[in-house]
């Protein structure tokens, strides 16, 4: 049991694998002795910015593009939707694209064998102007949709959180996109979908909307742990809630609320983010969308926390704000405050357990702050990767985007037989724009665009 060090990380993909618009290494899964990587272009501008699935043969180091979303013409409604991906506002004046990918992102992947699957299949969730879907592949080469767009509501932008539990596949509708606007965070309904036979295309609601609480505006995280399926919510008015179910009987299942009010940090724990089981406990990272400030709900800025949920219902604060709670005095067991002591760490975006250590990847908005408020100063910062062998003592493994200041987040981590894969968010375009508007940007002239993938 040991923790990787920075020198062990080597790049296995750079520059979005030749697609500068692919800024997110959004999802990863190990399938048929290969790495599958779901790439997203969340600010898609045209037919080049597609949702793609890449496969890495670890023996040769060669990448194949096994899926690229088909390109289709945009009608008037789709053009109006597409403009929001670029930010809306004055960008609405830009000439709209005439065609774009059926999906602009692959935001979730998992391996699952449903009732009518002959073997384990690869399932992927998409982001789309026309409603997110679930794709299915038996061989890792041919992919076909097994869900109607948005499961019948084409304003549902994404299908995220694909999680196998108890012989069923669970999924999270996420984000809302219409001609009138875009909410990247929240779907029209805060629900969890479930299917025991996704190949059949039938999905049902696994919970009541918002788990019966209208304060829950979205269900944003899923994790199987401790014999339960855990679900974390986004609640801008109260702070996240954590629910769990054994998923017994017919859906909607009986769910039990485990945490509420953002673990009593209230709105500054607006939402859960990544979750993982480690050492028999559930580790929950939190998040505020945006640059640590959620403009839609006027919450923040605040840095993220991590909480450890024990099987018996007790919970600990790993890093974050000390506080008095109905569950007792909570002090950070790591002796670190929010954001692992860094106010710019606004989310724990990813987690993975490799060789007895828990790894967590952050989203940092320090480069964005300097680009917008630094008076033209060179950017600094970038994502951080931290690790722990006991869940309480944490050490930094990678800092400052591992040498790339525009790599602001670790969007995906995957433990695999060949090592730990790390996929980044590269916000070079956004940072260049922010810096140029505020008198800087000279240091960004040569930076690469598109995600990177590291392996250690």
């Amino acid at each position: 049991m040991s923790i990787l060090d920075a020198g062990q990380f080597v790049p296995v993909a750079t520059g979005g694998l030749g697609h500068p618009g692919s800024t997110l290494a959004h999802s990863m899964v190990w399938f048929r002795d290969a790495l599958y990587l779901g790439a997203s272009a969340p600010a898609a501008r045209g037919p080049e910015d597609l949702g793609r699935i890449h496969r890495l043969d670890p023996a040769t180091g060669a990448w194949d593009e096994v899926f690229a979303a088909p390109v289709q013409a945009l009608d008037e409604d789709a053009q109006a939707r597409a403009v929001w991906l670029g930010g809306g506002g004055i960008l609405r004046q830009r000439q709209p694209a005439e065609a774009m990918g059926r999906a602009f992102g692959i935001c979730a992947m998992t391996v699952f064998q449903g009732a009518s699957d002959a073997a384990h299949c690869l399932y992927a969730g998409t982001m789309s102007l026309w409603g997110g879907q679930v794709l299915r592949s038996e061989d890792g080469i041919s992919f076909a949709p097994v869900m109607a767009p948005g499961n019948g509501d084409d304003s549902v932008m994404s299908i995220r959180g694909l999680t196998a539990f108890g012989g069923r596949l669970f999924a999270l509708p996420s984000g809302t996109i219409t001609a009138e606007g875009l909410d990247r965070e929240r779907a029209p309904q805060a629900i969890v979908l479930v299917s025991d036979d996704p190949a059949g295309g039938v999905w049902t609601e696994a919970c009541l909307p918002g788990f019966g609480d209208p304060a829950n505006r979205g269900v944003v995280s899923l994790c199987a742990a401790q014999g339960h399926l855990y679900a974390g919510t986004s609640s801008p008015a109260r702070g996240f809630q954590l629910w769990r179910t054994k998923a017994e009987g017919a859906a909607p299942y009986v769910w039990e609320r485990v945490l509420t009010d953002g673990a009593f940090r209230y709105t500054h724990n607006l939402s859960t983010a990544a979750m993982a089981e480690f050492g028999g406990d559930l580790f929950i990272g939190t998040r505020i969308p945006g640059f640590g400030y959620d403009a839609d709900s006027d919450v923040g800025p605040a840095a993220c926390e991590m909480i450890r949920q024990r099987p018996d219902g007790r919970w600990d604060l790993i890093f974050g704000e000390p506080r008095f709670t109905p569950d007792g005095l909570k002090v950070p067991l790591s002796a670190m405050g929010p954001g692992l002591g860094d106010p710019y760490n606004s989310a724990i975006w990813s987690m993975a357990v490799q060789d007895g250590a828990l790894y967590i990847g952050t989203q940092s908005w320090e480069p964005n702050d300097i680009a917008m408020n630094g008076g033209g100063a060179p950017l600094r910062g970038g994502f951080q990767l931290w690790a722990s062998t006991d869940g309480e003592a944490w050490v930094p493994v990678l800092v400052d985007g591992n040498g790339s200041v525009t790599s602001t987040g670790v969007r995906a981590l995957l433990a695999s037989p060949v090592g730990l894969f790390l996929g980044t968010v590269n916000h070079s375009r956004l940072l260049q724009t922010q810096a140029l508007l505020h008198g800087g940007g000279a240091d960004l002239a040569e930076v690469s665009a598109g995600f990177d993938v590291w392996l250690a």
Binding site: A237, G239, D298, F324, L329
Partner: protein, 294 residues
């Protein structure tokens, strides 16, 4: 000597009763509202308190009378005033040191809401006591505002009705100052709690407060904290220094546990009680939700 605890909150935020409770811990000494953060010297503080008449000065007069003479008679209060007037040149830190020396090896518990009116005052406390603990006590803006207006009405003969005064802005200004200070404090040096939460279940929260401060949380200590009425400053003072705490607390300082258990938090939705037709401002809603009010 131990570092003090400063309970920081806008006026009408339960500081008297909760400060009284924490101040009765056997290892602590609960001060009345001494307002020493208002100036760099005792003279500056006294001058700043002049407009408030004995509402602002009572606490320090009563404290000095109690510490110097073991009694809070009118004569003792007058002698305390003379003592102050002869020491206008004393730095605030020296006054605190004088109080600490008289109290001995106990944690001073200061609760002076006027300290939150200016960020300079809060920073002065931090400068004098870099390792002090700061407990941010919150109360729902609706009930804080209503309580503020009721007190003003009771003690101004209705004059407050003629003054353009919005307790919502007072709440917001104080909270912003407190949060600004908190950003300068080390991890664990600052804690926040909803007053409603603590009062509704003191047996749950007082031990947590003790643990945070490093004070004993044994049964005897908690029992002592449930009796703020035993404080020397939990009653009406002499004629020239009658206050030093919330007047309602001074008249009825004992905890009514049944009543406390029924404390509820009002809603942030709907009209502001003192501004019919208007909702709370966005900054107030934002902070109130951050503090856990719905």
């Amino acid at each position: 000597m131990p570092d003090p605890l400063f309970i920081i909150a806008p006026p009408r935020s339960f500081t008297s009763v909760i400060g009284g409770m924490i101040g009765q811990h056997p290892q602590a000494y609960g001060l009345p509202e001494v307002n020493l953060a208002l100036g760099d010297t005792l003279g500056e503080t006294w001058t700043a308190l002049a407009p408030s008449l004995n509402m602002g000065t009572s606490g320090l007069l009563r404290l000095l009378a109690e510490l110097h003479e073991g009694a809070q008679s009118e004569d003792a209060a007058i002698r305390a005033r003379h003592w102050i007037q002869r020491r206008f040149h004393w730095p605030t830190a020296k006054v605190f040191a004088h109080i600490q020396e008289a109290v001995g090896d106990k944690v001073l518990v200061d609760k002076s809401p006027r300290s939150t009116m200016r960020i300079d005052s809060l920073r002065r406390l931090h400068r004098i006591f870099p390792a002090a603990s700061f407990l941010h006590l919150t109360r729902h803006p609706r009930s804080t505002g209503k309580s503020t207006l009721e007190l003003m009405k009771a003690y101004s003969g209705g004059g407050a009705q003629r003054i353009e005064f919005d307790p919502e802005q007072l709440w917001l200004r104080s909270q912003n100052h407190i949060l600004e200070l908190s950003r300068d404090l080390a991890l664990g040096q600052y804690m926040r709690i909803k007053g409603e939460m603590l009062l509704a279940d003191p047996m749950l929260y007082l031990p947590q407060v003790c643990d945070w401060l490093g004070l004993s949380s044994d049964a005897a200590s908690i029992e002592a904290m449930l009796h703020p009425e035993t404080s020397a400053f939990a009653s009406v003072g002499p004629p020239s220094a009658p206050f030093g705490n919330d007047p309602n607390f001074l008249n009825s300082p004992a905890l009514d546990m049944a009543r406390l258990a029924r404390i509820t938090e009002p809603s942030l939705q709907g009209d502001v009680d003192w501004r019919p037709g208007e909702a709370f401002s966005k900054p107030v809603l934002r902070l109130a939700r951050q503090f856990g009010y719905g």
